[in-house]
Amino acid sequence: MRNARVIQQYGAQVLVFAAAWLGFAAAAPGLRGSAGVYSVLLGFPLVGLVALGAAGTIIAGEMDLSVGASAAVAGAIAVRCAGLGLVVAIIVPVVILGAFGAIQGIVIAWLKINSLLITIGTSIFLGGVLFEVCGGNPISVSNAAVTFPLLDRWWIFSPDIIIAIVVFAAAAVFYSRVRYGREIYATGGARAEAIAAGVRTRRAIIVTFTVSAALAALAGSIAALKVGGADPTADTTLLLEAMSAVFVGGISLYGGRGTVGNVVLGVGILSVIAAGLSDKGAQEYAVQLVTGLILIAVVTFEVLARKLATRAAWSADGLLGGRKSRAPSL
């Protein structure tokens, strides 16, 4: 029984992941051996951390669309703080954006307001903040030597990959063992029942939005320090990639279901595809094209599967002959 549940939760994703890697390894030499593992792992510090944060808000039945803007602002703040040392340059934006995320979570939780709208508003707001932090022009790290430790590499590991692995491990424990983490599942799975059972749903929402902004900030600041600069007009597709990873990995659009393992698989699948395509010399837009197609395919599949399931349930009850039932849209 337990095995069956594990297969149901991860089976399809593991198969896709294995097939994608085998397929690309056959066609693209860059995906073989330790170099291949390294290039796939490189997807975790940026897209992975952002997806992990966004996944929390989706499990809680909400959605944070401001992760891309948060990461960009954090990157600019990190570049500005680089003179104070590497650790400070990473921690300052995480704290600032974490506080911003907490405020966002408080507004959403207390006013019971649609989180998509609030986070669209904060995205525009943060875009303005980004512009102000950069002073309107691309900025770069004043003393490049500060960021050199980030460029180290030991076999398949680099500092940012190790940070990502540690954060993912901590998140796995948080979501499965800690009460705050369990509350998030109750909040997203069945909010009315959760409130009736005394679960502190507001706290869960505030926690997820704080974590989401802080993780996006961590990812954004590491990425900006690694390249040594930030650009106020950079056209980033981080939001799309993170959301795709979350849904491709098997986190439910309807909240309450999905684990850190699902995020790992989703990020892994997209990372294999991105690494494989760029090894074959494909442009950035080809990666986007494939990511978009996969996102639509996966979400459509989930909606249709849920529809079939509700329809079966209705007809089992003999109501409406199984014809008129509709899956609720989010």
Binding site: G121, G127, F131, G136, L239, L289, V303
Partner: protein, 314 residues
């Protein structure tokens, strides 16, 4: 719901306050009311405003917003540019551009009709459109330049008013009439205020979604075509801030995100309000970042206040 439909006063409180703030700002800003300045901020509002009128119908129908407006408009702009570059007849180029945007909108309509969240469907489709157009354009070097043969009049003016502003006004009036007077407009509003009631009274939700996305496609196509014509070129990254600008215009105009209330005219007013605010800040030498900050703050304020007002009246 019915009371709110008859007396939309509550939903107009905030736009009213914003207008008042704007008026104070405008009066205290030298040079705001000069003819050329008014023309310039109306021109800045026109593309966003045109696309916002179509998007507002999606919001009114209860399907939140589209996160793929830039890509749809860009598709229209690039296709028009390509056809003008190849010296096709102007009518053919325009028809091709707008028909293609309607076609990709219909794909999104199908996805939303089977139950996908509109935000995710439009986000995903937008990226696919971006990827496809980038691929085709990159083959030819990235930017499509053309000399606007036969369509130069779009950049001119008629009776002293720039043509772009006239098109903006025409689209707004047309969308407003369809929304208020036509059967499909009434159905869109009903579907947004109560899906159950709409279904009970025989309104086909599928048709509502279909026609909403057709409107979205037409306005995105017109907006993209204008975007290309004003600079005589088109690239996959043109109108890069359109998606969020349109969302801001719809919401600041006071269109209810819960659906069922608001109108395309309000969305157009929202676009003009934002452009006027930006203009005042520009005249006071504020940076682009500060302008965007203000737009974001105004948007958050509108969403929160409207939500609270609605909860109190409910």
């Amino acid at each position: 719901v019915i009371r709110e439909l008859r007396f939309p006063g509550n939903s107009l409180v905030l736009p009213g306050i914003i207008c008042l703030a704007l008026l104070v700002g405008a009066v205290t800003t030298g040079g705001f009311f000069t003819r050329s300045n008014v023309d310039s901020f109306l021109l800045n509002a026109s593309i966003v405003g045109i696309v916002a009128t179509g998007t507002s119908l999606l919001t009114i129908s209860g399907n939140l917003l589209s996160l793929g407006m830039q890509q749809s408009a860009m598709l229209g702009g690039v296709l028009l540019a390509v056809s003008l570059e190849h010296r096709w007849p102007v009518g053919c180029g325009l028809a091709l551009a707008i028909a293609s945007v309607i076609a990709v909108s219909l794909v999104q309509a199908v996805l939303v009709a089977i139950g996908l969240n509109a935000i995710i469907a439009t986000l995903g489709c937008g990226t696919v459109i971006y990827g496809l157009v980038s691929y085709s354009v990159q083959v030819n070097g990235g930017t499509v330049n053309f000399s606007a043969s036969g369509l130069n009049w779009v950049n001119g003016s008629a009776a002293g008013i720039p043509v772009e502003i006239l098109i903006f006004a025409a689209v707004t009036v047309a969308a407003g009439i369809i929304h208020h007077k036509h059967k499909i407009g009434r159905r869109i509003t009903l579907a947004g205020s109560s899906r159950a009631a709409a279904r009970m009274s025989g309104v086909s939700l599928r048709n509502v979604i279909l026609w909403t996305f057709v409107a979205l496609g037409i306005t995105a196509g017109v907006g993209g075509a204008l975007g290309a014509l004003t600079v005589d070129q088109a690239t996959p990254t043109m109108l890069s801030t359109l998606t969020f600008d349109v969302a801001a215009a719809v919401l600041i105009g006071g269109v209810s995100v819960q659906g069922g209330a608001g109108s395309p005219v309000l969305a157009a007013i929202g676009a003009v309000l934002i452009a006027a605010f930006d203009n005042i800040m520009l005249l006071h030498n504020f940076s682009v970042g500060a302008q965007q900050l203000t737009t974001g703050a105004l948007l958050l304020l509108t969403v929160i206040v409207m939500h609270s007002v609605r909860r109190q009246t409910a």
